[in-house]
Structure formats: C-alpha cells, structure tokens
C-alpha cells in the first residue's frame, strides 16, 4: 500500500499475441475489414488515484461488531509507530522560459498517472517519446497513439485521393458521352431526363448523381482485396482501413490535384519508420537516452506545491527550494511577458492569480483540468481524465471587476473595462470552434477583489488561502440557440 507509486503497470503494447489473434477470429465473420486491435492498457488500474497523494483509509467501523473497533485502533497505532512516508517530487523553475520542468522519470510517471499533470515536451500530452522512439527503432512491438493517428490520417487521405480519382474518371466518361452525343445528334439518356421541359418545369425528380463518398471508396477497396484473396487462394489479411465511417451525410470534395500533392509529401514521412530498422541492424546497440521531460504549467506546479504539497520547485541553480510564499509572487511576475521586475507590486488581477483561481476551483471539484490552447480556450475539463472520456467542457476565463473599488476613478474604470472587454466576434469564433469539437463553452467569470491595501481588515499578503478566498468564480454555459431546432 505504501508503495502505491510503483504501480504494477500492465505492459499494454506487448499484448499477448495469441489473445489478439483469437479476438480477430471472433470478429472476422462480422467485420472482415477490421484488423485486430491491441487491447487497451488497463487505464482504470493505472489511473486509479486522482492525485499523487497517498491515502490510508481507516478500516470500516461496524457498531455491532466490537472487533472492528480494535482494527481501527490497531491501524491508528500502526500509523503512530511508523507513519507512512509521502513522496515529494522535485521540479525546477526555468526563468528563461517561465516554465516548470520535471526531469525525474519516477516523478514524471507519478504526476501523469495520478491526476494527469503536465505534458511531455516531445509528445502530444502523455510523455511517450521514449516508447515511441523505441518502437520506431523496432525495439518494441505495437504502436503509440501518435502512430495510430498518423496511420489513420494516411488512410483517410488515401481514400480521399481514391474518391477524387473516381470522380475525375466519371467526369471524363460523361464528357466523352456528351461529345459522342453531340456528334450523333442525340442527347445522352440522363441528360434528356434532366433538361428542363419546354415550359420550364422539370418533372421534379432530382437526378441521382453517383455519390463518391469515403465509404464507397472503402467498399470498393474491400471488394478489390477480397477478389485478390479469392484469386490467390491464400489468406491475406485485409488491408487495414479506417475504422470509422465519416459521420453525417455531408461530404466535401477536394481538388484531386491538391490531394495528390499533399499525399505524396506525407507518404514519404509515413514510410519513414521502415528505414531506421535497416540502419539499426548495422550498429547493434543503440544508446537511447530519454530526451523528453515533463513540463508543468505554472498553475499545475503551484497547485501541486500549495494545494497538495507533493512537489517542491527548485530555482534555476537546481539546489535551492523556492518556498511557497515566494513562489506565488514569482509565478505572478512571470505571467506577464516580459516578466515583471520584482520591485513591481502584485495586483489582484495578475493573470496568474486569475487563472490559478479557476484552475484550483475546478480541480477541487474533481475535474481534471488541462490546457485548452488547442481549442482556443483557457482550459478544458475532463471527467476523470483524458484517457477515459472526451472533454465535454471548454473554459474561457474572463475577469470581472464588479467591486466598487474598480469604478472609483476614471483610470481604474478604463483599466477594468479594457481587461473585461471581449468582442462578440471573438465569442462567436470560440463558440463555433467548440461546437465543432463537440464541447460546451463555459465562460468563467472571476470576480477580482480590490488590492489588499484598500481594505483594512483584509489579511496580509502572506496568507495565500485568505487571498484566494477573496475571489469568486461564476460559470455560465453559452450555447448557440438555433430556433429551427427548438420548435418541436
């Protein structure tokens, strides 16, 4: 129990091959095109702890069973004699880039697995560069998520190219038919159906043009591969194709020329993984250092230090620990670019204070908060974590200056108005993007208190908890309302 950090991690990618084969056999009659998927890692087990903090629950106390009281007392006694040790991880603050880095592999693993903190500097989110690199060099089997994505994209592109080719072929055929008809002096059959009748009203039926959807192209390919199987007599595994059909019936066609160009340039990259294998055979032992480290956002780092107490942040020299009391001003100063001078006083509307209040708020409610920069927002909220579900909510942080202090002088009024201003165009932009990625937009207003020097009864700067307690957050979910859809 005490060694909860070294979780037995089931090696996910080295899945038993026999198992995957059997699953393929099961699936093959129903969906022949679907390749066997390596079983997912047991995320429930890996990410069963929401925070990198150890908990030691008491044994249950059952009133009518006096023995349970003994076990409770016993557990107290055990903890009293040998108190469990809470691991404190180390990170360092880099002044030049205003970021917090974790380089210890054990700390990286713990911070990612328990609470999804940080981001691998060479990965999309989970620090997986080493694993990826090993696989790329053929040291490990299986695929990383990045590789799966790339493969999927390549397949999709290929299918689109195929579709464009088919479309082009159809156009050429039609042109030929039309030319033949012109020479022969008669209309091609489809055209006579289509052309407007003399009084201008056609018969009203919409001609069914052949639809070159991705699905069509995929089916055609499947047929082809099946034909190949029957001709050879040997069993080829069907070509792994895209796993999902495009949703909706709206298909967008692209110019075949552009597609071809894009595809060629990318296909070089996608074929790259094969080359290093040959190279690797030449020099037997590759020295593979982990070039990746975990980067924590300043909010994450401060939450781990101040909120949970499981992290200590070292300064640039990597010897001295920055105490919490001076870490907050440091991060506040670095929330501006370029970082502010230490002599400048902190203001209650420092960008770091406002974003930290929101981060802490959602973390304390149980959400896994991660940066939303990819979606044009400040944060995205996951329920339990990114490996379990898609993030439903995208949070935009907007400061609010309702306190009378901020409207006392013209200067303050101008300042707060400037900070609060968000244009309608910006909002519609963000809102449309969120609808596209199936998220709900949350505008999170943070009520900014007046500076501590303004009110006499306010606590001193040293009490961070009291300072945070003066802010207030309010969430509003904003959604496009389409009158066409709510009529019932």
């Amino acid at each position: 129990m005490a060694s909860s950090n070294s979780l037995p991690r089931p090696a996910p990618e080295t899945a038993a091959p026999g198992k995957s084969e059997s699953s393929q056999n099961h699936a093959s009659p129903a969906r022949p095109s679907r390749p066997a998927r390596p079983p997912r890692p047991n995320y429930r087990l890996i990410h069963r702890f929401p925070f990198p903090v150890e908990v030691h629950p008491l044994p249950p106390l059952i009133p009518h069973n006096p023995l349970s009281l003994v076990s409770v007392l016993l557990s107290y006694l055990t903890y009293f004699i040998s108190p469990p040790h809470q691991e404190i991880y180390s990170a360092y603050f880099d002044t030049a880039t205003s970021s917090v880095h974790v380089t210890d592999p054990k700390a990286i693993k713990a911070l990612w697995e328990m609470g999804f903190f940080g981001k691998g500097t060479l990965s999309r989110s989970e620090p997986s560069w080493l694993e990826r690199e090993k696989k790329r060099r053929g040291l490990l089997g299986g695929m990383t998520s990045e590789e799966v994505t790339r493969q999927r994209r390549t397949e999709r592109r290929e299918l689109k190219l195929e579709r464009a080719r088919m479309e082009k072929l159809a156009i050429e055929e039609r042109l030929k038919a039309e030319a033949a008809a012109r020479e022969g002096g008669m209309m091609p059959p489809e055209q006579s159906v289509l052309s407007p009748t003399p009084n201008g009203v056609t018969d009203g039926t919409i001609p069914v043009t052949e639809k070159f959807s991705l699905r069509k192209a995929r089916e055609a390919r499947l047929l082809e591969s099946q034909r190949a199987v029957s001709q050879d007599g040997s069993v080829h595994p069907p070509t792994p194709l895209g796993k999902r059909t495009p949703s909706g019936n709206k298909t967008v066609r692209f110019s075949p020329v552009v597609q071809a160009k894009e595809f060629v340039s990318d296909s070089v990259i996608s074929s790259l993984p094969e080359k290093p294998v040959d190279r690797q055979e030449a020099n037997e032992e590759p020295v593979l250092n982990n070039e990746e480290h975990l980067q924590l956002s300043t909010e994450e780092a401060f939450f781990l230090v101040y909120g949970l107490g499981v992290l200590r942040v070292l300064d640039d020299t990597r010897t001295d620990v920055i105490p919490t009391s001076s870490l907050l001003p440091l991060l506040c100063r670095h929330s501006y670019f370029p970082p502010r001078d230490p002599s400048v006083d902190l203001t209650p509307d420092d960008p770091f204070m406002i974003s930290y209040v929101v981060y802490h708020h959602f973390r304390s409610l149980g959400w896994v908060v991660r940066s939303g920069v990819k979606f044009g927002v400040d944060y995205i909220l996951y329920n339990r974590g990114p490996v379990f579900s898609h993030a439903e909510f995208a949070v935009v942080v907007v400061p609010s200056y309702s306190h009378s202090y901020w409207s006392e002088t013209a200067e303050r009024r101008a300042h707060s108005e400037e900070k609060m201003a968000r244009s309608w165009w910006w909002l519609h932009c963000v809102n449309r993007v969120q609808a596209q990625v199936k998220k709900s937009l949350v505008v999170c207003y943070v009520e900014v208190p007046p500076p501590t020097s303004y009110e006499l009864d306010t606590p001193c700067e040293g009490d961070i908890g009291a300072m945070l307690g003066r802010y207030q957050v309010r969430e509003m979910v904003i959604r496009r309302w389409v009158p066409n859809r709510t009529r019932d």
């Binding site: 990410h47 702890f49 929401p50 925070f51 908990v55 030691h56 629950p57 008491l58 106390l61 009133p63 108190p83 994505t149 156009i171 039309e178 055209q191 289509l194 407007p196 201008g200 009203v201 056609t202 009203g204 039926t205 919409i206 999902r244 949703s247 909706g248 101040y306 949970l308 107490g309 802490h360 708020h361 973390r363 409610l365 149980g366 329920n383 339990r384 990114p386 579900s389 993030a391 439903e392 609010s400 309702s402 201003a421 244009s423 309608w424 519609h428 990625v437 505008v443 009490d463 961070i464 009291a466 957050v473 309010r474 969430e475 509003m476 979910v477 496009r480 066409n484 009529r487 019932d488």
Partner: protein, 440 residues
C-alpha cells in the same frame, strides 16, 4: 491522450441534440426541390420536398450546367408564382398616431367619462397596450389568435411590430387616418381610404415606442419560424421588470441525513485530521490522508456563485441586457387573455453599439430577472453533463449585427454544486466505471 478528443470529432455524438452539427439555414439551397411543389395546381400534395445533392467544384460537363440551370429555373418558377389577395380575406387596419382611442362615435357618448382621464393612458384605460397604434375593425384569420388586443368595440389593436409584420407578409392593409390626411369631413367613416405604403409604415412604426430595427428583425424572424412572441415587461427601459416576482427561491438543498455511524466516523476523522493550513499550503493538509473525498473537501477554498441564492435586492437589469421578448414554442398552447409561462426569455443586443460581450454584473442582473429553472427531471438527474448545460437560470441573447441575428443561450450553471469526485457510477454520458481509491 488527445486521441479521445480527436476521435470524438468524427464520431456521431452521443447526445447529438445538444450539439449543432449542421445548420440547414446556413447552406445554399438546391432549388430544384421546389419543382416538386405544385403551386399552380391543387394544394393536396402535402409532402415536403427532398433536398438535393451539391457539387463543390465546377466541371466542364454539360450535365452540371444543366443541373445548375434547372435549379435556377426552379427558383424563378417559385418566385413567379402569382400571389393573390382575395378580397374576402382582406384585413384593413387604420393607423392611430396618437395611440389607442375609442371610436369617434363612441367618443361622443362617453365624453363625460373620457374627460376625467388624461390623453396618454387612454389606451390603458381601455385595456389596450399604450404603444398600440393600428386598429383592425374586421379581424379575420389565424394571426389574430396570438397577435393584438381587442377592445370593447370589437376592434383589435396592434403594436407597431405586429402591424409591420402583418403588412410585410401581405396579410394586412393599413390606411392613413382622416386626421393625418386632412379629409375630416367624413365623420361616420373611420378610415380615410388612402393606403399606407410599406415605406411609410416603416417610417411611421420604426423607432416608435422602443421598437428598434434589431428588435423588429428578431420579432419577424421568430414569427416566421412559427414562434409566438410577445413583449416582456422589460421592453421599456424605465419600467421595473415585474418578471422577477415570478422567481421564487426554491431550496434544493437537502439536509444531509447523517446516521449515528456517520457522525461517529466524522468525529474520528475530525479528531485525527490536522487542521488544514491554507496560509502557505499544503491545502490538502499535512500528515496522513484518509480519503480523496477529504482532500477534495479541504481543497475547496475558492468561493463560487450559487445561482439558487438570489441577492436580496435583485440588481437592476440595465439596457440592453433586459428581457424584452417572451417566446412560446409553436407547440405551446397560447391564449392571448392568459399567456402561459414563456418557453424562452430573450434579450436583444445591437452588436454595433454594444461591441463587447456583457460583463459578469450585466449578465448576472439579466439572469436574476428570470425565474429559477433548475435542472430537474429523470433524465437530468442521471446525466451530469446535461444538468450542467441546462443550468439554474437561462436566458437567450439575440445579438444583432447589421441585421444578422445570432442567438446565444446563456445558462447559469453552478459547477460548484456538482462534486464529480463523489459521482461513483453515474457518469457524464458514457462509461460504466469510476475508480475507487483502494488503500489496502
């Protein structure tokens, strides 16, 4: 792994109703579908036309050119359909520039009673909205089920936006009054017989009694979609919004039923737990943690706004962030004499004069003026995401930018009321399992 996110984009959403995938009104139409509607023959064919498929790039085939010209022809056909006004169904209204007044014949009889009242609220004395400016003596047709107010002389008085809407769609003919035209000789006939042009109607009604072009475009847009839309008490800036009286603060909090064991357990925990140190951290507390729920509880130090507790003097909603329209779905049974509670409340914002998104206090006051609409119901109690999206109060903001209306639904959703760390098995939308920290 952002993979899940990316995958979600391509997958059909679990709750596609909540998201807007495609908006039909945004697309360019293939007008060939109009051919299937037979305008000139009988109206027995009631099926809606099917939508066509579109090409995205021009190609040199004759086929495509023919499709295009057929579509264009179909549109012209539809537009060239003669629109006739049958004299039987003709509705004539008369412009009353001075607001509602009794008919002249009745005025002579009622002079004694009328004199005691001042001129302006004469309309209100008749039970008619003071802003009404057109009356119809022969109300016919289905529109008057939800439009206008009848006085005791069996005339229906129309508000400026109602009159303009009916005029624009060709259901109403407005006449100038005698006083305006100057032919005051005919004392028996009410109307002068001189019809009012569309331009004159716009000039006369737009800007009258708070009717801006933004409000009018919202009104007509929703009317055309079949909604019933009436003015809300917040229409005039000076009027106190009486809507807030509807909101009754309901207490949704249930007292925690603590059993004896629970109390004892809590006492033990309280005895053991060191007091959390929020001054310099760790907020979660020092020493041994008993459960993650305790950690979450001690972490919650940020105050959040609770929409169920309304501030005692409700803040005044300032223009334009005031509810100006009450909207009823076409399916809602609407009675003019006793309008039900509206389905939606709507505020209209001109994006050119108010260029920025409203601040917290502006939106807060607007939401405070709407009644509490907590997420209740069987489905809501099961689905966390749905509950959060629904919110405790909601309002619709119509942002009008040079005639283009964009509707936004704003919901006051209290994330602080949902401790998702406590949700054991009820999940947002999918997934059967939630990890329980198992210590030993």
């Amino acid at each position: 792994m952002a993979d899940t996110d990316e995958a979600a984009i391509h997958m059909p959403s679990q709750d596609s109703g909540m998201h807007i995938d495609t908006d039909l009104s945004d697309e360019t139409q293939d007008f060939r579908m109009l051919n299937s509607i037979s305008f000139l023959t009988d109206g027995s064919q009631q099926t809606l036309p099917k939508r066509g498929e579109k090409d995205f790039e021009p190609n040199p085939t004759l086929f495509q050119a023919d499709v295009l010209s057929a579509s264009r022809q179909a549109m012209h056909n539809a537009l060239s359909y003669p629109r006739l006004h049958h004299p039987k169904t003709q509705v004539i209204g008369v412009f009353a520039p001075n607001g509602p007044a009794p008919p002249r014949s009745a005025q002579k009889l009622d002079t004694i009673t009328e004199e005691s009242e001042p001129s302006k609220p004469a309309g209100t004395g008749m039970g008619i909205h003071a802003d009404a400016c057109v009356y119809v003596s022969n109300p016919k047709g289905q529109y008057f089920k939800s439009i206008g107010q009848a006085d005791r002389w069996n005339r229906v008085w129309l508000l400026p936006e109602e009159a303009l809407y009916l005029l624009e769609r060709g259901s109403l003919d407005i006449r100038w009054p005698c006083s305006e035209v100057g032919c005051a000789d005919g004392d028996e006939t009410e109307d002068s017989g001189i019809p009012m042009s569309l331009q004159a109607a716009h000039a006369a009604f737009m800007g009258r009694s708070g009717l801006t072009s933004e409000r009018f475009s919202v009104y007509t847009g929703l009317r055309r979609l079949g909604y019933t839309i009436v003015r809300a008490p917040g229409w005039h800036d000076e009027e106190e919004s009486a809507d807030s009286s509807e909101s009754e603060p309901m207490s949704l909090e249930k007292p925690q039923s603590a059993s004896l064991v629970g109390i004892f357990n809590q006492l033990l925990q309280w005895l053991y737990r060191p007091s959390p140190t929020t001054a310099l951290g760790p907020v979660a507390g020092l020493g041994i943690h008993r459960s993650y729920d305790n950690i979450y509880r001690s972490l919650s130090i940020i105050p959040w706004y609770d929409p169920t507790t309304s501030s005692s003097p409700p803040p005044r909603a300032t223009a334009p962030y005031r509810v100006v329209f009450h909207i009823y779905k076409p399916s809602t049974a609407f009675k003019k004499s006793a309008p039900p509670a509206p389905d939606f409340r709507l505020a209209v914002v001109n994006a050119r004069t108010h260029t920025t998104f409203p601040t917290s206090s502006q939106l807060g006051a607007l939401l405070e003026s709407t009644p509490l609409d907590p997420p209740v119901g069987e489905k809501m109690s099961r689905q966390l995401y749905m509950r959060l999206r629904h919110g405790y109060r909601n309002v619709i903001l119509a942002v009008v930018d040079e005639g283009v209306v964009s509707y936004l639904r704003i919901a006051d959703s209290a994330f602080g009321k949902e401790n998702i760390y406590k949700e054991k098995n009820t999940r947002g939308n999918k997934g059967p399992w939630r990890p329980r920290p198992k210590g030993r």
